[in-house]
Amino acid sequence: MALSREHHAALFECAPGGERPCVIHAVDVKKIYGAGENQTFALRGATLDVYKGEYLSIMGPSGSGKSTLFNMIGALQKPTDGRVYIDQVDIAHLDHNELAWLRCRKIGYVFQTFNLIQVMTCLENVMLPMSFAGMETDAAREKAVTILKLVGLGHRALHKPAELSGGQQQRCAIARALANSPEIILADEPTANLDQRTGQEMIDLLSHLNKTLNVTVISATHDLKMLQSSHRILWIEDGRIVKSAKPEELDFSSSEFH
């Protein structure tokens, strides 16, 4: 297995020593749900690279395969065909223990519906991934408080999610994603359930974290505001990546965006 990992690493366009280190490398990723006549092609072959420290947005209508691509590059699901390399390791070769390690420390997930554990306080939610990583409770609490302050939720640490506004819940979810200092934050439509102003705050927060912590942010979105903060935008349609652009190349006043 070690051999094949090295072998795959050698195939990388952006292999170590390349211009920009690559954190995620996906090659011709396909995902088919169901079988026989009920087969649904969620992804028909997506290839992409995500560079370290990048803020990447993925655009696409609902049903385009955006969330599926997300699950693949976030190691939440294995592809039917194709390869996903996270930090140059093919996730198909990882067993469930190694996948759990990867999810725990390499990637922080932010969901559209926040997915906080409702029965735990903000602080306990942020401490949970740390305890999964084997951290001592006292150290975890200290770190969780620091992170909650970082996302502007220090004063709400002991509240349960139900007592918080949507924006505060998403801040808590972002804090939880940062718990084990991941290299990547995967945000699946993080502003979809928030109002305009709060959504903008989340984008600013993610953008701020991207700049200050140099954490790679990958975000699926419909939200035009998110595009302006990102370094690069990919469009996905019908299970394929159809376009790639930088925000400065786009004309946000064109009809395409309205």
Binding site: Q88, W101, I117, S131, F132
Partner: protein, 347 residues
């Protein structure tokens, strides 16, 4: 570069599981009630069975005592206003105890008690007062002399005892001594009776039918309990699929999630089983008190104490085992779920 995720020690799972029960207190109580209900049903059935046996035994003992009393009065004539004397050789069996009770309630003027082995007279609720005498005064003016108890047949000089009696009548609830007391004027009555072959056969058949009925009751109660408990456990796991998905995204191992649910179900099962067992026994006791009265129910329960304890232990054990077993399947399904699917689940 990629390492193995740490296996969290058991006490972490224990802490998280207990925390889950504490914060989800309301939901835990509902699950515990589900388990308790199942076990209460099982225990009520089992306790009812034991009490029923006790009541049936009591009925049999009373009928047998009544038969002995009838047998005696055929020889002695009505004992109303007369004196009877009991010579007790040792501890009494249930039939003899009931016979003493019925004798004391038979309108005697006096009931004498001579204890050869120091056995005190049984407590009787009403009727003639006991007068404890020595053997020399046992026969004076009595119309019947009844020898009972588990001791050996009394090796005594009968003549002075019998001489003072109004009517020389000696009745034995057990074996008559090899050399019967008295002379030609003495009536010797044996109150014990060997059941006939026909009676024995009927008793055996009734016993077999009762065993079959018991088996049926146990099977049905267990089925109800199994369904109730698995439903409660299944619900408490499936409604948390989303939470499980989130935990897996945060790096929880499948084994950790499985452990979490097994600890939780063991705890819920233990609390629910103990509570259900107590509730079921109480319910059966109340029902039997309502039907047969407190005295008879207490007496039956006391007589069946060992089987009641056994049933209670079995019901609690069954509840705990069932709770954990019922949680194994949903917990392992949940823990094996791909996180993406668990997150999508809308259960």
């Amino acid at each position: 570069m990629i390492k193995e995720q740490v296996q969290l020690p058991l006490h972490v799972a224990l802490t998280v599981a207990m925390q889950g029960i504490r914060i989800r207190f309301g939901r835990s109580v509902v699950t515990i009630l589900g388990v308790a209900l199942g076990i209460a049903f099982l225990m009520a059935m089992l306790a009812g069975m034991a009490l029923n046996r006790g009541v049936a035994g009591e009925d049999r003992a009373r009928a047998e005592a009544r038969r002995m009393l009838n047998f005696l009065t055929v020889e002695s004539g009505s004992l109303d206003g007369k004196t009877a004397s009991i010579i007790c050789t040792g501890p009494l069996d249930p039939f003899e105890e009931r016979l003493v009770g019925q004798l004391s309630a038979a309108g005697l003027e006096e009931l004498r008690w001579t204890a050869l082995a120091g056995t005190p007279p049984p407590a009787v609720s009403s009727g003639a007062p006991f007068r404890q005498t020595y053997l020399s005064g046992a026969g004076d003016g009595a119309s019947a002399l009844i020898v009972m108890g588990a001791g050996p047949p009394p090796d005594i000089v009968w003549e002075p005892v019998l001489a003072g009696m109004r009517k020389q009548l000696a009745a034995f609830t057990r074996a008559i001594p090899a050399s019967p007391p008295g002379d030609a004027h003495t009536t010797i009555v044996s109150l014990s009776r060997e059941p006939s072959a026909d009676e024995r056969e009927r008793a055996a058949a009734e016993k077999r039918r009762a065993a079959a009925r018991q088996l049926w009751v146990i099977v049905i109660s267990l089925a109800v309990t199994v369904i109730g408990i698995s439903n409660a456990m299944l619900m408490s796991v499936t409604e948390r699929f989303r939470e499980i998905g989130t935990m897996k995204c945060l790096g929880a191992l499948s084994s950790f999630i499985r452990m979490l649910f097994l600890i939780e179900s063991a705890f819920v099962g233990a609390v629910g089983s103990v509570a259900g067992c107590a509730a079921g026994a109480l319910f059966a006791a109340l029902a039997y008190t309502g039907i047969y009265g407190l005295a008879l129910t207490t007496r039956s329960a006391y007589g069946q104490l060992s089987s009641l304890a056994l049933y209670a232990a079995a019901a609690v054990a069954a509840g705990m085992v069932l709770s954990v077993v019922a949680a194994i399947y949903p917990a392992s399904v949940a823990s094996r779920m791909v996180p993406a699917n668990a997150l999508r689940s809308n259960v």
